[in-house]
Symmetry: C2
């Protein structure tokens, strides 16, 4: 990839992570409307949803399950042909050096505007306290 | 995942790797017909194809580009909801300990029989000689 492509992939994945990290429901729904299509779908080994209200509810459930935690995008996001792949970790905000509780890799399909159409999540490591 | 799921994911990904490693065209086309749907699609940053004849040609092109090399499936294949994610390396057959020339992660959609319907490949590392 060119460095331009790498930056674009990292920015797209950053938009996604920003949604998952927005604990304020009203602000999160603004981000969702901006970065996902209305009929977007999400599925991972533990949960799934279709449409922004359902995806918003999934995100809210993660905040309830892991208060004081947030997602960090790892290096290595890659995009081509409207598909995006990136890896992330979920760890405690107040212990930035602590081992993540969950790490994963997500695969996404994007529309021409760079909005998320379909996301499939995979879990690379689960290290629950 | 349960160990049963892990084994199933590893076996599905193994079917895929076996196709890429079959240098005999006739035998490869038998494997393709067995493990992919007729209208299957493949796309990675460098090449794409739709239908088994096109995918067969992509595989043949890789053998021409990297004679004496083969693909190895890494641990960590994961499957859920008809989707599969796995990582692989491509390295020389006669130097099993040598650094791979390419490493990647592929994402696939499967039909109910476990046949590959759509594959998107991503490159994790490229270390061409």
């Amino acid at each position: 990839m060119t460095s331009e492509n790498i930056n674009a992939a990292h920015e797209l994945a950053g938009n996604y992570i920003a949604c998952w990290n927005e604990t304020d429901g009203a602000r999160r729904r603004v981000l969702l409307a901006q970065h996902w299509t209305p009929e977007a779908t999400y599925v991972d080994p533990l949960m799934q949803g279709a449409g922004l209200a359902a995806i918003d509810a999934l995100m809210a459930a993660v905040f309830e399950r892991f208060p004081g935690h947030s997602f960090t995008l790892k290096d290595g996001a890659e995009a081509h042909h409207g598909r995006l792949r990136f890896s992330w970790s979920l760890g405690p905000n107040d212990h930035p050096g602590a081992a993540p509780v969950v790490e994963g890799t997500d695969f996404a399909e994007l529309d021409e505007a760079g909005r998320f159409v379909a996301v499939t999540g995979f879990l690379d490591k689960v290290n629950l306290p």
